[in-house]
């Protein structure tokens, strides 16, 4: 059994949320620069230039990439040989988020009851924490501050197996077409296939963590990713939705086994910033 203090969990979570909010991923910056080279729309190029400059400023000055510093979402893999001491796991995670947002000049964007008072909790907590128990003695954290401009464009379709790959492609492209300028294109499109209505949305969001440019290891799914990406970019929506050839930087599909009667499909959209960070204790 390996003991890990709750305090260390808090510090790691804090570090990861600060990093995700200030520093864009290298793969994102590369993808944006490549898109800039290929973009033919004048306004589109100007938008991409502004985004690239924005990330330089944010990273250099350690200020938020975007004012929507997101709802804190974590995927935690807890090694089954880990024994947490000195505090409660969930509290430690939430304390880490709170400290990052209070001390890091990040916006507090969470309201308590979603329908009536909608009072800001003031701490950007509670975080949404997904925990999996895995073999080993480490704790693996994957965190994303999820902004809601993109999150609001998410969609779920409980498709029939007979709908097939064509049905899936049409659903994903339609979802992006309807979203238009709203999620701050160019976007990263996470697609989940399989599982249940809830599981499929979870894996769609997890798909956003993949490095841009990497495809699914199953060639058939990788082919679907390429075709959907091409169809999305053929919509002409462009950077900021002002017209252009760069509407999405990547389409990432993740699948999971599902029931004989179903083919759940979920789309979780992320803006190009694709803010996420990973760490291990």
């Amino acid at each position: 059994m390996r003991k890990i203090e709750a305090e260390r969990i808090k510090k790691k979570v804090k570090e990861l949320f600060l990093r995700a909010n200030y520093h864009i991923g290298e793969d994102v910056l590369t993808a944006l620069k490549e898109a800039r080279e290929r973009e033919v729309s004048e306004v589109g190029c100007s938008v991409l230039d502004m985004l690239i400059e924005n990330y330089k400023i944010a990273s250099g000055e350690e200020i938020a990439i975007c004012q929507d510093t997101g709802l804190a979402v974590l995927y935690v893999e807890l090694g089954q040989e880990v024994y947490i001491i000195g505090g409660n796991f969930r509290e430690a995670v939430n304390e880490g988020v709170k400290e990052a947002y209070m001390e890091g000049y990040l916006r507090k964007s969470i309201v308590d009851d979603p329908v009536f008072a909608r009072k800001n909790t003031g701490t950007n907590t509670p975080a949404i924490i997904y925990t999996d128990i895995a073999p080993g003695d480490k704790i693996k954290f994957m965190v994303t501050p999820k902004g809601f401009g993109s999150e609001n464009m998410s969609a779920l379709a409980m498709m029939k197996p007979a709908d097939g790959p064509e049905g899936i492609k049409n659903f994903v492209v339609d979802t992006i077409k309807k979203a238009g300028p709203n999620p701050c294109p160019p976007t990263i499109v996470g697609v989940g296939i399989g599982g249940t209505a809830d599981k499929v949305l979870v894996i769609a969001k997890k798909a956003l963590f993949r490095k841009i440019g990497e495809h699914h290891q199953d060639e058939r799914y990788a082919q679907m990713e390429k075709e959907i990406l091409e169809q999305i970019n053929n919509l002409g929506i462009g950077p900021a939705g002002l017209g252009g050839r760069t509407t999405a930087l990547a389409v990432n599909i993740e699948y999971t086994p599902t029931h004989i009667a179903g083919m759940p499909v979920a789309v979780n959209v992320c803006c190009h910033a694709a803010r996420h960070a990973e760490g291990i204790l």
Binding site: I63, R118, N234, G243
Partner: protein
């Protein structure tokens, strides 16, 4: 390279009429901020025939909930929030004299009709360029609804705030006219 139209606030009918969808604009002057919660309160006051906490005639509202400012900064990262959430509140504000809105994303048919009726303009600010945009915000103070935190109504003094006219007062809509040119 498209030229940049420099405008100052408050807006005038003449300036607004001359702004066309696609124009690159640089705004200098005072602008207000308001988003979901503030709009709900303003709308409620208008419905009850009560006075608003700010004079909106000829003014611009920027849909934003900024990040807190680091010491030494006038304003934290402050990119636009998605405008459609303010749509149901907007025609009433336009009727009261609001002349310009800065945000990002689609607007409803009702908003566009009201813009045409009231000679108002909708500017697009680049979502995701929040740290860059904040550099053009030189002064910031809360003028109403402080209890709303980041959703409070602020008064910003901006210099060369970069925007694009995306829906003009004639109803020309860049979000609709441009993508088909690049579609395949």
């Amino acid at each position: 390279m498209a030229k940049i139209v420099k405008i100052v606030t408050p807006l005038t009918d003449e300036v607004v009429s001359n702004l066309k969808a696609g124009d690159r604009v640089s705004i200098t002057g005072y602008i207000y901020t308001a988003r979901d919660a503030a709009h709900k309160r303003l709308f409620s006051l208008l419905q009850k025939g009560e006075k608003l906490p700010l004079e909106i005639r000829n003014q611009i509202i920027y849909y934003v909930g900024p990040a807190p400012a680091k010491p030494g900064y006038a304003c934290g990262s402050a990119g636009p929030t998605t405008s459609y959430r303010m749509d149901s509140y907007t025609p009433a504000l336009l009727d009261k004299g609001l002349k310009g809105m800065i945000g990002k994303g689609l607007r409803s048919k009702e908003v566009i009709e009201s813009m045409k009726k009231n000679n108002a303009v909708y500017f697009h600010a680049v979502g995701g360029a929040a740290a860059l945009i904040a550099k053009s915000i030189k002064k910031s103070e809360v003028v109403a609804y402080e209890d709303l935190g980041a959703e409070a109504i602020h008064l910003y003094y901006v210099e060369d705030f970069p925007v694009i006219v995306v829906i003009d007062s004639a109803g020309n809509n860049f979000y609709e006219t441009e993508p088909p040119k690049y579609a395949k």
